[in-house]
């Protein structure tokens, strides 16, 4: 085929130009193919067309221009190609060039908007937080540089098994000079370089395979400030404890001072009594006067001899008070000595004794203590008059119920046939009262 038969040079130049264009088209198609095959499967079909057609045209151009088409197959193709009008070949090349240009553009846009595993890796490597995603069994799906460094510093090994690494962190079997601590509810790993890393773990439950994500975040500044704050708080608490103790001692000292003042008064009175004795001995007096002087003397000496009394046990105090008021407290079983049981039972004794004296008028308060199934049961009853109707629970009884329930127990009041209070308390209870 000759486009310009009259001018062989122009004709050859045109063919050379077309050959060059198709060469570029071919190279473009190869590059496009290389890009498209990385994408979704259907795009490979797209890639076939721009490769085959330019290849064909390139072949024809080479054959025609160099006149090396000696093979029969090539001759026949050349013959067919030579029969095509020149404008058609030119138009086809232009359309193909346009199609390749559009495809390149779309590939460029796609590449810019698409996140590849490599781009994720590059991004995660640049963040200060350590991330490690692994499958059950320990196979690592993804990790970043910060986590690799952390693993090496914390365990002394390179990060190769996610599960083993996570277990090492959880158990705290770390390198010497590294330690695992809790900051509130957050586990924290403190490395030898004094950096602190908060540890968190998450399971991606929507995945078919349960991928676990292990994260470590650098919280060195927060950790150090928290430690400083704790240290200050401990010092403040210690000072406050000492202050409270000192103030209790001051109260005692004040009381002691009060006693001392009273003793001084008694001492003065003693002096006055001794003067009275002297006067009595010198001038005589009646036996009544003598007895009065000796009574004063005895009283003063008693005052000076006696010291402060020791605090009394709560049960003993109730028993002693009841006895003074003519009430006998009979206890069957063993009164608990542990808290909060003791406090609750002493309060119950107080309440029952008060109510009995106010309303029932008896002279015996019976307390029966039994233990069964990790429960301690106490029944309080008296020999006084029985109540006319239902007992209204207010004041002391309501307080007793609140105290019992705070201790994890229950309180039942029986009004008929005889008044009784039943307390059921768990034997082992944390003393939160």
């Amino acid at each position: 085929m000759s486009v310009f038969p009259a001018n062989a040079l122009l004709d050859k130049t045109l063919w050379a130009l077309m050959g060059l264009i198709t060469l570029f088209l071919f190279l473009g198609a190869v590059v496009l193919f290389a890009l498209l095959v990385r994408q979704k499967r259907y795009r490979k079909l797209w890639a076939v067309l721009p490769v085959i057609l330019p290849s064909y045209f390139l072949y024809q151009c080479i054959c025609t221009y160099t006149a090396l088409a000696n093979s029969p197959a090539a001759v026949s193709v050349v013959t067919w190609f030579a029969g095509l009008p020149g404008w058609l070949v030119l138009l086809t090349c232009m359309l193909l060039g346009l199609a390749e240009g559009l495809l390149f553009r779309s590939v460029g846009i796609y590449e810019k908007s698409r996140i590849t595993p490599m781009s994720v890796k590059e991004a995660t490597d640049s963040i200060p937080m350590g991330i490690c995603a692994y499958l059950p069994g320990g196979q690592i799906v993804m990790t970043n540089r910060a986590m690799e460094d952390f693993c090496l510093k914390a365990t002394g090994n390179v990060l190769s098994d996610g599960e083993a690494f996570a277990e090492t962190l959880r158990s705290g079997s770390l390198q010497t000079d590294c330690k695992a601590v809790m900051l509130g509810e957050t586990p924290v790993i403190v490395l030898a370089d004094d950096t602190a890393w908060a540890l968190s773990e998450e399971i991606l439950s929507d995945e078919k395979e349960k991928t676990r994500i292990l994260r470590v975040s650098d919280i060195t500044e927060t950790y150090q400030k928290t430690m400083t704050l704790r240290s200050i708080q401990e010092k403040v608490s210690s000072l406050n404890r000492r202050l409270a103790k000192a103030n209790r001692e001051i109260v005692d000292l004040t009381a002691a001072q009060e006693v001392l003042n009273a003793k001084i008064k008694i001492h003065d009175e003693l002096g006055s009594t001794l003067l009275s004795i002297r006067r009595y001995l010198q001038s005589g007096g009646s036996p009544e006067e003598r007895d009065e002087i000796f009574g004063r003397l005895r009283r003063n000496i008693t005052f000076l001899k006696r010291e402060r009394e020791a605090p009394v046990d709560e049960y003993e105090l109730m028993m002693e008070t009841a006895a003074r008021l003519g009430v006998q407290i009979t206890v069957t079983g063993k009164l608990p000595q542990t808290e909060p049981h003791k406090r609750i039972l002493a309060t119950a004794m107080h309440e029952c004794l008060t109510n009995m004296l106010r309303h029932a008028g008896g002279d015996e308060l019976r307390i029966t203590i039994t233990e069964e199934n990790r429960k301690l049961m106490a029944v309080f009853a008296n020999n006084g008059e029985q109540p006319d109707g239902e007992i209204r629970e207010k004041g002391g009884l309501a307080s007793l119920r609140a105290l019992t329930e705070q201790g994890g127990g229950t309180m039942t009041i029986c009004s008929t046939p005889a008044f009784a209070i039943l307390l059921e308390l768990p034997k082992e209870v944390e003393n939160a009262l």
Binding site: A244, I250, T254, E258, H350, L353
Partner: protein
């Protein structure tokens, strides 16, 4: 018929002093003399007490004012005289709130105890105009506001600003403001010195807790 008197004081010297007052008058007889406010209401329960002479701060941690409030609520006919040697002004204030019949400062009051008892049994209520004035650093006890005294009392218990704020339902900044005011008024060098000297002077008495 003589009035029956219950004496509640943890100091034996004071108790015996009051007992001697009771014994000295034909108008009174001793119902009981106890060293803790915890059982005061039990003695009142049987209707055997007409008058209670009660101290405020007891060494076992019980408080005469709490017991007085309980007795006043349940046994309104029983007369109550609060006796104390502590100049803490909140004691007097609270005693008035509870509605006790008289308030008597040991060793300071000029009127004799028996006279106070007679007047109370005759239906009078007797309160001193103000507590004895004591000094805390550069400041007199009368120079403190009620709120400052509240803060001072809790401070003396060894609580932190945050705990004081929670106890008194104040903001943290308000507590700091009051503490700074107290330090500045009294000229104390620190809150610890303030707390210790406040207790030592008797301006405030912290709640006495039993040793765990």
């Amino acid at each position: 018929m003589p009035y029956k008197v219950l004496i509640v004081d943890d100091q034996i010297m004071s108790r015996q002093l009051f007992e001697s007052f009771v014994a000295a008058s034909e108008n009174y007889e001793l119902a009981a003399s106890v060293d803790t406010a915890r059982v005061a209401d039990i003695y009142c329960a049987g209707g055997r007490v007409d008058l209670v002479l009660m101290d405020v701060v007891m060494k076992d941690g019980s408080n005469g004012l709490d017991a007085a409030a309980q007795i006043r609520a349940v046994y309104p006919k029983v007369k109550i005289i609060i006796v104390t040697s502590m100049p803490d002004p909140t004691f007097l204030h609270r005693a008035k709130e509870i509605g006790v019949d008289a308030f008597w400062y040991k060793e300071v009051q000029e009127a004799p105890m028996l006279e106070i008892m007679d007047r109370v049994m005759a239906g009078e209520t007797i309160f001193p105009d103000q507590p004895p004035v004591t000094n805390l650093g550069f400041a007199k006890s009368t120079e403190f506001t009620e709120r400052e005294l509240e803060v001072l009392r809790v401070l003396a218990e060894g609580l932190t600003d945050k705990e004081i704020a929670a106890r008194l339902h104040l903001s943290l900044s308000a507590v700091r403001y009051h503490v700074n005011n107290l330090i500045s008024k009294t000229g104390q060098s620190s809150r610890t010195e303030l707390a210790v000297n406040a207790v030592r002077s008797g301006i405030t008495i912290p709640e006495v807790k039993k040793e765990e």
